[in-house]
């Protein structure tokens, strides 16, 4: 993420016009950006508890906080998944949704970096709305890579990418804020439909009336 002329494009990333400290690139646990990739499975063969303990141990300088961070992370993740994560499961056993929920919780609670970069969080199979609500409580810079209008319209700024670079920086307009209210309502109805189907219920015409 801190390219220094060593990537295929040869570009440099500067912070406030300056070359970032080497430690940002040399030690991933000092990286001020937590990146949530599109991985839907872990390859780590440790238990959830052990994995989070090791990770909290490197990210948090105070060892007395490790157990608290581990519990908070799993609690956070479990608000986003249908099926709760069990501490003694191995990381490899987690489902796609559980994996993404765990990654988001880990980045927010354990990494606790000033910047969180989320790559297509909408594909995660998690409670997206709940995720956005929870993330809002943590005062950080969230950068979403997204195709989802709801997520895009919740943001203060939108960066438009074209040909490998940023071509536009848009600030949300007042009119868009009004659009967001309707988009949010549609999206909530869609989420309710999804939940109803997940629970094995039958749909009625009244369930889709508001969407028409």
């Amino acid at each position: 993420m801190f390219a220094a002329g060593d990537t295929p494009t040869g570009r440099h990333v500067l912070i406030d016009g300056k070359i970032p400290p080497a430690v940002y690139r040399d030690n991933p646990s000092c990286n001020p950006i937590a990146l949530i990739t599109q991985h839907t499975n872990f390859l780590s063969d440790l238990s959830v508890r052990e994995f989070l303990r090791v990770h909290a141990g490197i990210r948090c300088p105070d060892p007395s906080q490790v157990e608290r961070l581990v519990h908070e992370s799993v609690e956070f993740a479990n608000q986003l998944t249908g099926e709760p994560i069990i501490m003694d499961n191995t990381m490899t056993e987690l489902s796609g949704g559980q994996t993404r929920a765990m990654l988001i919780a880990d980045a927010t609670i354990i990494c606790n970096t000033p910047i969180v970069l989320l790559d297509e969080v909408e594909n995660a199979g998690i409670h997206r709305t709940r995720a956005l609500e929870l993330l809002r409580k943590h005062r950080k810079i969230f950068i979403f890579v997204t195709h989802d209008p709801r997520i895009a319209l919740l943001s203060d700024y939108r960066l438009v990418l074209e040909g490998g670079c940023i071509t536009k920086v848009l600030t949300i307009t007042d009119e868009e804020k009004l659009c967001a209210v309707t988009v949010t309502r549609w999206d909530d109805m869609y989420t309710a439909l999804r939940e109803k189907i997940r629970l094995g219920r039958t749909l009625n015409l009244s369930d889709v009336e508001g969407l028409a």
Binding site: S29, I36, I58
Partner: protein, 233 residues
């Protein structure tokens, strides 16, 4: 002459790392020779010769332990590289039995590990990791950032003195510090010595006795229940 020995389990990406390193060393004006040591098959010498037009060789260890083979041939290889007017000899070894490490004092030792392997791998690879100067972690694009951080912590728990460097060996992202380390490596001393201790070598299976069961063997033997002991005169 500077000596670089690169070791690590099979298919971790040693060749990919060295390709990017070679490209950058040549761009910096260095002259590089490449030697591949393997047990029975290797074509990396042809790959490096074709891609970079540098002097390359391979050596099959065959009946010899590949680690011991590298001890045998390294003196000749350094003279060969010198004769080719090269300033740096890169040696890529096979994935070995993990009892000893091929690094030499006075040369740079690089261990290549993949981020996709189990979290206990750093404990399993022994001296290949703990005697290296730097551990290079490949395949980082296949795991989450959290796993990269935890894998690094596991390496540092197993080998606290070893520097760790994550690289993307597909695109060569992150190899620059490795190239710097190679360029800053001192010239090899006149008397080169293996960095670690070789394993116990008095075993009658090594000399060709095929019977199964420790009772059929002499020298250093071991039953399932006990530790090693000496049997014989």
């Amino acid at each position: 002459m500077k000596l670089v020995i690169c070791a690590g389990p099979a298919t971790t990406g040693k060749t990919s790392v060295l390709r990017h390193v070679t490209k950058k060393l040549l761009a910096a004006g260095e002259s590089v020779a490449f030697l591949k040591i393997d047990v029975q098959y290797a074509d990396e010498d042809e790959l490096f010769a074709r891609e970079f037009g540098i002097p390359t060789r391979k050596c099959y260890s065959g009946e010899l332990c590949p680690d011991h083979c590298s001890v045998m041939v390294l003196g000749d290889a350094l003279r060969w590289a010198e004769h080719q007017a090269c300033g740096i000899l890169l040696v890529e070894t096979a994935g070995l039995c993990l009892r000893c490490a091929p690094y030499a004092d006075g040369g740079l030792g690089i261990a290549v590990l993949e981020a996709t392997s189990g979290m206990n791998l750093p404990l399993k690879v022994g001296p290949i990791l703990s005697l290296a100067d730097i551990a290079v972690v490949t395949k980082i694009d296949l795991v989450s950032q959290a796993e990269r951080e935890v894998f690094r912590a596991r390496i540092q728990a197993a080998a606290p003195e070893v520097r760790v460097r994550e690289v993307n060996a597909l695109y060569g992202i992150g190899v620059d510090p490795l190239v710097e380390m190679i360029r800053n490596t001192p010239e090899v001393p006149a008397l080169l010595q293996l960095r670690g201790n070789p394993p116990v070598g008095t075993c009658t299976i090594c000399v060709g006795k095929k019977e199964i069961g420790w009772e059929k063997h002499f020298g250093v033997v071991r039953p399932l229940e006990n530790d090693l002991f000496y049997r014989g005169e």
